[in-house]
């Protein structure tokens, strides 16, 4: 294959390395060595993560967490043109300004759909196993070239702008990956088995509605803890749905699986552990409260969880 995910890992590694370098050499930055070092180490993990010994990477990850924990990853004052200048530019460029931004989803979708056909002499142009993500990466590169041509600005400036946004996002951008790592460590250590053991040992599941409620609420709660419905599904379905809902109450497995997973997604709306959906957007949108997005989702999640319990009890 020609375009694989590794290409974008390296691209991102170089970008983070350069951003870290810019921060270290920025004398106006309040903590330039800690913050710059943080991004340089992160860049190294993208560039060479699969070649370094895994315990060395583990030490680097813990070092990053400590730097974030002592408040080392702060941003410099953002350097942006005045609002008037931006308005003038917006009027001059008009709606064409939207086009590069829309190029990313467009190329992603077209690339995903075309990937199986773009095979030349047995070599796939786009990695077929990661077609969507590889197309997304291509979309970002195409959009960047387009944006530079449109605004007559340079790639160098775009790196400075990426640095401004990385500064604003701070460690929040690393958190989802760290949580993904925690999910793997949990699975390795048998946390799922322990939770299923506790639920089935201490709750009486003889009443149908109660068993349905325990399954749906358990999916939500376990997702809140793990940050991911996929991690909750095997535990709760293996622990409650298969032996009780299907085994005792003879429920239809299709709605049990579908509505059970959706109950887990209600939990995803509620948890800071699903950082890429809840914490990163709060940072991206510059909300003062990092739980602001979760707060806006609480009523929807709870109402939907109740609807799920009612639906599953009616249809299974």
């Amino acid at each position: 294959m020609i375009v694989s995910l590794n290409a974008f890992f390296w691209l991102l590694g170089i970008l983070l390395f350069v951003i870290g370098g810019i921060i270290v050499s920025d004398r106006a930055h309040p903590k330039r060595f800690l913050a710059g070092g943080f991004w340089i180490v992160y860049g190294v993990i993208f560039l060479a993560g699969d070649r370094l010994p895994t315990d060395v990477v583990g030490v680097l990850v813990i070092a990053m967490a400590v730097v974030a924990g002592i408040g080392g990853v702060v941003g410099a004052k953002p350097n942006m043109p005045s609002e008037d200048a931006r308005r003038t530019s917006a009027k001059r460029l008009g709606n064409t300004l939207f086009l590069p931004a829309l190029t990313i989803p467009l190329v992603t979708v077209v690339g995903t759909l075309l990937a199986p056909r773009l095979v030349f002499g047995g070599v796939a142009l786009i990695d077929p196993k990661n077609a969507t993500l590889a197309s997304f990466g291509i979309g970002c590169v195409v959009a960047l070239i387009f944006a530079c041509l449109l605004t007559r600005d340079s790639v160098g400036q775009s790196v400075k702008e990426a640095r401004r946004l990385v500064d604003a996002l701070s460690w929040a951008v690393v958190l989802p990956q760290l949580l993904g790592m925690l999910g793997l460590v949990f699975a390795d250590a048998g946390v799922g088995k322990a939770v299923a053991h506790l639920i089935t040992a201490y709750i009486n599941l003889d009443y149908r509605l109660l068993a349905v409620a325990v399954y749906c609420a358990g999916m939500a709660i376990f997702t809140i803890i793990m940050g991911n419905g996929f991690a909750a599904f095997p535990v709760m379905t293996g622990g409650v749905a298969v032996p009780v809902l299907i085994g005792v109450f003879h429920g239809n497995p299709a709605p049990i699986a579908a509505i059970g997973m959706f109950s887990g997604y209600c939990g995803t709306l509620l948890t800071p552990m699903a950082a890429n959906y809840n914490i990163v957007p709060a940072a991206l949108l510059e909300l003062p409260n990092k739980y602001g997005v979760i707060r806006a989702q609480v009523p929807t999640a709870i109402a939907l969880l109740i609807v799920n319990i009612v639906l599953l009890n009616a249809f299974m």
């Binding site: 991102l12 993990i45 993208f46 993560g49 895994t54 583990g58 680097l60 813990i62 967490a65 942006m80 931006r86 308005r87 917006a90 300004l97 939207f98 990313i104 992603t108 969507t132 997304f136 970002c140 944006a147 600005d153 775009s158 790196v159 702008e161 990426a162 460690w171 951008v173 690393v174 990956q177 760290l178 993904g180 790592m181 925690l182 793997l184 460590v185 250590a189 322990a194 053991h197 506790l198 419905g229 379905t237 293996g238 299709a254 579908a258 509505i259 997973m261 997604y265 709306l269 990163v280 957007p281 709060a282 991206l284 949108l285 510059e286 909300l287 997005v293 109402a303 939907l304 799920n308």
Partner: protein, 257 residues
């Protein structure tokens, strides 16, 4: 039933819960939880470190989708993307923040259900386009917004992206979650058609749309009460005395250049 299930790894869960409640830095909480869980499962130190390292390398794909668009988005913002989004939306008379987000929610959920999950996202759509448009629609109606109103609108924009994505993608047959469910049930000796799982997801998907839309409808009413007090900018408003009831009688909005 006292089988040999080791309950000590649950210490990791306790560390997470306590850490978030006591508002420690989330990066630090997660790192400590991973270390504690590893030791509770009787891993030696080098096994703990390499579990953390290999887990972190395996999940490198997660931040890709946030970090890669930043250079484009940042450059476009420098040249007025967000301002342009606000100008554009202020020209659409019927646009209220709630209705605008309803349209986004609908499009996001339908496209996700068709497998086109790449059409939205917080870094590439919500920050540069959806959130500024929502704020722009509110400013056109209610004039200058307080910070509290602004933050609430942004949070709702992000919430709509999440709700649309989550409850749309699971009714797409080829989506990973359906594959995961069918595979897991098969291992447990239960055969299910992926298509049936997708179909049984539809009632919840519809309920999610209705509940979130109802909340968006209420958001418009809330805005009319809380943001309407500051009075809209003079000029583009033909009915300045009607500010409290904007939402109910939404058509006449004057000429917004």
């Amino acid at each position: 039933m006292h089988t040999a299930v080791n309950l000590y790894p649950l210490i990791g869960v306790a560390v997470i819960a306590a850490g978030f409640l006591l508002r420690f830095n989330p990066m630090l909480i997660v790192a400590v939880a991973a270390i504690a869980t590893g030791f509770a499962a009787h891993f030696p130190l080098d096994h703990v470190l390499s579990a953390i390292g290999s887990g972190f390398v395996k999940t490198r794909v997660i931040p890709l989708i946030i970090l890669l668009p930043l250079a484009v988005v940042g450059l476009l913002e420098r040249h007025g993307l967000r301002e342009r989004a606000q100008m554009w939306i202020s020209g659409i008379r019927a646009a209220t923040p709630g209705r605008l987000l309803m349209v986004y929610l609908f499009v996001r959920e339908i496209t996700a259900a068709l497998g086109l999950t790449g059409l939205g996202g917080h870094a590439q759509m919500v920050r540069p386009l959806v959130a500024p448009m929502t704020e722009g629609a509110a400013e056109t109606r209610f004039g200058t917004l307080t910070d509290a109103v602004r933050y609430r609108l942004r949070a709702f924009a992000a919430a709509c992206d999440n709700v649309g994505l989550f409850f749309g993608e699971d009714i797409f047959v080829a989506f990973g979650a359906i594959v995961l469910m069918v595979t897991f049930l098969k291992e447990a000796g239960i055969v299910v058609e992926p298509m049936h799982v997708a179909v049984w997801g539809m009632p919840t998907a519809l309920a999610a749309f209705l509940i979130q839309s109802f909340r968006l409808y209420r958001l418009d009413r809330w805005l009319a009460r809380h943001a309407g007090g500051t009075k809209p900018a003079p000029g583009p408003e033909p009915h300045p005395h009607d500010a409290g009831r904007q939402d109910a009688a939404a058509q006449p909005q004057g000429e917004n250049a």
